[in-house]
């Protein structure tokens, strides 16, 4: 099905099941421990051996020699794979660094060996007997010292440099100006489930039971790396314990399980050890950003410029921090610039709202600072500079843009009018109290997605697609879609996900999974409805599918009857025309945060949070809310504590476990409120939905930062905002 013109009325609009707050259909499996994650799939193949990964002890250089003698002789050891005996390996198209290093080492904890043994404990003990002699080289590890050497680098959302009008002249001429520098640190996905894979070979066919967000990408990538035909690789990933972008691409667990299984001649399972994950896998790269805003005295932005520097391994990509500044606020004269420095730190790559999250962390502080310079309320300043068209291409409207409505609704619900605009004036016992707001803004991405739908003679509808559920609720919204389309209750729908044998879906990433994957299911269901109508002698255009029946006029036939003499199956794919070119499709929100800052210690604790979001049709308010409050939590982490600390001497992230890389715990997160504005977006898909999961993190950290400023009068522009950055400027205590 090609989606080329705005959606009109369709069966989804009935909203009998879609749009309802349905609990996750996979919930009972999760809560009873019967949704097996990759490493726990003991039943898929017999005789599984265990692999343990050895990471490089240096960041850059070469392995001079590896002594495997003691490890090979250790109890239970079946095989040891290193670059020396792995055979020829290609590099994946989506990876910057090799998944198996040696002799050249590209980053700290790059995998250099996997030890396969009868038990996990034997594999680990043997791995610790491997002795490696390295020739370390000095690498580049300090982004701040490399700004002059950074080179223009295009980002996913556009070229390295963008310009509209004459930014320099108009910024210089603006009566009110802000020119400030911000930084965001390297961050880890720190998802609950580590990267894990069970691999088994059958002749030249490889099966990987793994934990992955993008099945089709990774099937192709694994085939490329191993020099195989793609049809000989199967991935299966029905349950994923979080990914946040860290499982978009193949990682060492999958490759080393495959290589280990080949060497040991039996199935092998590998999970990345937690202390290895932070340096071995990808992370959100650090940025240094400069934002300049020029405005008239009455608050109209005339010039806005955003530059960002980040670093990556040779051949890597820049963080897209500037992307949202091209679209968020009006202003005739604009520029962005993206620069990339070469670093020898682990590979930077996508993490929840890649670019958007880091850019909004800086931009939405800058806007708060600018409002203060103008003596304006920061929300009124944003509303004054709102735009309903792409500021770079005024002929191109937004399909829907309710940013102002989000702010107005949020301000009312949060009690914004009670905010004291003078910072440092509100006290509640030992706490200095402040309120801050920030815009949330993330684009809606369209990508094709296929599904297969089958009806059996019991009236059960089974959906199969390689879509993944990374904790987001994909199972549930896909079931809701099929149930609505086929006119059956939710219990009559079975959803099977994550198997590369199924039709290729959008996968989970870029907040594109929900809208695209359900649109693909919609397309397949339209075909199945036609097949059913034809079989039962209905005119498919007139047939109504409801209550397990097909109806038209006075005639009603049980749906199951269409499959009486064998199942009916239909497969289709949603594809998109140029609506995304004609209309800018985005999702919007407004974040509100109240913090308390301890007057003595400068400890920051979030007291209240609210997000108001407008993101197209909300397919399931319950699972969508979960996505947004989870993202808000992650935003608090980014604001207050998350930082992969670089040892700039030797080039690695020092705090590489969950004790030292702090993310918010329950005690850090107060009651969170979130509210969706009514919206349907006929430009997005027949579902009229858009993504929400990354929208939720965009802007949260800036709202926290702005609240901290309102509480204390101390403006911190370098994340995370830890107490040591406030302490010097805090009021005296007795």
């Amino acid at each position: 099905m090609k989606f080329e013109s705005p959606a009109t009325t369709n069966p989804i609009d009935q909203l009998k099941i879609v749009g309802q707050s349905v609990s996750r259909i996979d919930g009972p499996l999760k809560t009873t421990g019967t949704a097996p994650y990759a490493y726990e799939r003991h039943d898929v193949v017999a005789n599984q051996a265990y692999g343990y990964v050895v990471g490089s002890a240096i960041a850059k250089g070469r392995i001079k020699s590896i002594d495997l003698g003691a490890a090979k002789a250790a109890p239970g050891v079946l095989a040891i794979v290193t670059a020396d005996n792995a055979g020829k390996l290609d590099k994946g198209r989506l990876n910057t660094a090799k998944l198996l290093g040696g002799p050249e080492i590209q980053h700290y904890h790059q995998a250099i060996a996997v030890v396969v043994a009868e038990t996990f404990e034997q594999a680990r003990a043997a791995a610790q007997l491997i002795r490696v002699d390295y020739a370390a080289e000095q690498g580049a590890f300090d982004l701040a010292s490399l700004l002059d050497k950074a080179k223009p680098n295009p980002i996913t959302a556009g070229p390295a440099d963008t310009a509209v009008g004459d930014f320099a002249a108009n910024f210089a001429a603006a009566p009110v100006r802000l020119d400030a520098r911000y930084s965001t640190p390297d961050e880890a996905h720190a998802m609950m489930e580590p990267h894990a894979t069970i691999a088994a070979w059958e002749g030249d066919k490889l099966t990987l039971w793994t934990s992955n967000q993008m099945i089709a990408w990774n099937k192709a990538e694994m085939a490329k790396i191993l020099g195989m035909r793609a049809e000989n690789v199967r991935l299966d990933s029905p349950f994923v314990g979080g990914g946040f972008g860290g499982k978009l691409f193949p990682r060492a667990d999958a490759l080393l399980a495959a290589l280990g299984a080949r060497a040991a001649k039996r199935p092998v399972k590998v999970a990345l050890q937690r202390p290895l994950m932070f340096n071995n896998t990808t992370h959100r790269p650090a940025t240094i950003q400069r934002i300049r805003i020029g405005a008239t005295r009455d608050g109209k932005i005339t010039a806005i410029g955003h530059e960002s520097w980040s670093g990556d391994l040779p051949g890597g990509k820049a963080d897209g921090a500037v992307a949202q500044t091209r679209l968020l606020y009006a202003g005739a004269h604009r520029m962005t610039a993206t620069r990339l420095a070469t670093l020898d730190l682990p590979e930077g790559n996508a993490m929840r709202a890649p670019g958007e999250a880091t850019g909004m962390m800086a931009l939405e502080i800058a806007v708060d600072e600018m409002a203060e310079k103008l003596g304006m309320d920061p929300i009124e300043f944003r509303i004054l500079n709102d735009t309903q068209v792409d500021p770079e291409k005024p002929e191109r409207p937004f399909s829907q843009r309710q940013l102002t409505e989000c702010f107005r609704t949020g301000a009312e619900r949060f009690g914004w009018s009670k905010r004291n605009p003078q910072p440092g004036r509100v006290r509640d016992g030992r706490w200095l109290v402040g309120i801050g707001a920030a815009a949330a803004f993330r684009n809606n991405l369209l990508t094709k997605s296929a599904a297969r739908v089958r009806l059996d003679n019991g009236g059960i509808v089974t959906v199969e697609t390689d879509m993944t559920d990374i904790g987001t609720g994909s199972y549930t919204i896909i079931a809701q879609t099929a149930a609505e389309m086929m006119g059956v209750p939710l219990e009559k729908v079975k959803v099977r996900l994550g198997d590369s044998a199924f039709p290729v879906s959008a996968g989970s990433g870029g907040q594109w999974g929900g809208n695209n994957s359900t649109a693909g299911v919609y397309a397949a269901c339209v075909k199945l409805r036609e097949a059913v109508a034809q079989k039962l002698g209905f005119n498919s255009a007139e047939a109504e599918f409801a209550d397990g029946e097909v109806r038209s006029g006075n005639r009603r036939v049980p749906l199951a009857q269409a499959a009486a003499d064998g199942g009916l199956s239909a497969e289709d794919e949603i594809e998109y025309g140029d609506l995304a070119k004609k209309y800018q499709q985005s999702t919007f929100g407004a974040h509100f945060v109240e913090v308390g800052v301890d007057a003595a210690t400068a400890e920051i604790r979030v007291r209240r949070m609210l997000a108001v979001c407008a993101a197209g049709r909300i397919l399931n308010p319950k699972t969508a809310r979960s996505q947004v409050i989870g993202a808000m939590t992650m935003g608090v982490g980014a604001a207050l504590m998350e930082e992969l600390v670089v040892d700039k001497r030797t080039g690695f992230f020092v705090n590489h476990d969950l004790a030292a890389y702090e993310v918010p715990v329950h005690a850090d997160i107060p009651h969170q409120e979130m509210f969706f504005l009514d919206e349907t977006d006929p430009m997005s898909s027949p579902m009229k939905a858009k993504g929400v999961a990354e929208l939720g993190i965009c802007g949260v950290a800036a709202a926290v930062a702005n609240a901290v400023y309102n509480a204390t009068g101390v403006r911190v522009r370098d994340y995370p905002i830890t107490l040591d950055k406030l302490l010097e400027q805090m009021p005296d205590v007795g």
């Binding site: 600390v645 476990d657 850090d668």
Partner: protein, 316 residues
């Protein structure tokens, strides 16, 4: 993890004797720290002697009017004991500020005293660490040192002791009771129990080989207002940047011990005498000779400000 043998000890003397027979043996109680370290091969005992069956899990009054806390009393139980909450509230509060509920259920009194530093370079076996591999150097000096010691450190080590409980015990002048393999017992004042790093940061306590902690005794209650204030980046499950254990009497005199600033719970009795003159006066003495790094210099003013807030709170 290296392979190890395992036994369950039946009484303290037998446990102490057994550990002496097997040179690479260690005692295990809650195991909340030791097992993690064994998995990383930071600890590599060849033999484990499980002391959980030694019946050292009682809290009893002493003849002197204090309390004797068995070495195996779980942190949760100690924090919840009504006598501790009434007479030694600083200890109860310190315990509850540490770790998580699950860990406190498992962690023991003796094990808490013996937990090892959380320095990230200590935990990464690729890095030099004089505590882990004597003579290899200290990566934290000149590296990521935000959490590290500001006082009492050495050229060899700037690690901190991570315990909250021990800071409370230091303020209470607790005594550590032990038994040695030959059956001899002794009582070690908590002030002398933990060592400063000096040139031997791997030697962390006064315990001799095979010596087993049997109890911690608290002297007669001293009254006063008990406060434990732990400052950290997140609200729970994080090690202290700075913590303050204070016992303040109505006349403004009292005691103060700091956590998060040194290789051991940090208290100097002469600094206590400055309490009536305020936090600045106390810290001038307590942190005199401090040698912070660029990354943790903030702990000096943080400690002073935190004590200031504690003293304000104590005045009620």
């Amino acid at each position: 993890m290296k392979s190890f043998t395992y036994e369950r000890a039946r009484n303290p003397a037998e446990a102490a004797a057994s550990v002496l027979r097997k040179p690479d043996a260690k005692f295990i109680a809650g195991g909340t720290n030791l097992l993690d370290l064994m998995k990383l091969e930071i600890e590599t005992p060849a033999h484990l002697i499980d002391v959980n069956g030694l019946a050292l899990d009682k809290i009893e009054p002493t003849a002197e009017g204090g309390l004797r806390i068995g070495a195996l009393v779980r942190n949760t139980d100690l924090a919840a004991d009504s006598r501790v909450r009434r007479d030694y509230a600083v200890l109860s509060r310190a315990l509850l500020a540490g770790a998580s509920g699950q860990l406190r259920n498992k962690a023991t009194t003796a094990g808490n005293l013996l937990q090892r530093t959380r320095c990230p370079y200590f935990y990464d076996t690729n890095q030099p660490c004089n505590k882990r591999r004597p003579g290899s150097g200290c990566a934290a000096i000149g590296g990521f040192s935000r959490q590290h010691a500001v006082v009492g450190g050495s050229e060899a080590c700037i690690a901190t002791h991570p315990s909250d409980m021990a800071v409370g015990m230091r303020a209470l002048d607790a005594t550590v009771e032990t038994v040695r393999p030959d059956g001899a017992t002794r009582a070690i004042p908590i002030a002398e129990f933990h060592h400063l790093p000096g040139s031997t940061p791997h030697v962390e306590t006064a315990l001799s080989p095979g010596e087993l902690i049997t109890a911690v005794t608290l002297p007669k209650p001293v009254g006063g207002t008990h406060i434990y204030r732990k400052v950290r980046d997140r609200a729970s499950y994080a090690f202290a940047l700075v913590s303050v254990a204070a016992i303040v009497q109505r006349d403004g005199t009292g005691r103060v011990a700091l956590g998060g600033v040194a290789h051991k719970p940090w208290r100097i009795e002469s600094a206590d005498s400055q309490l009536p003159r305020g936090a600045k006066a106390v810290m001038a003495e307590l942190l005199s000779g401090a040698r912070p790094t660029r990354e943790n210099a903030f702990k000096l003013s943080l400690a002073e400000r935190t004590l200031g807030a504690v003293l304000t709170e104590a005045k009620g």
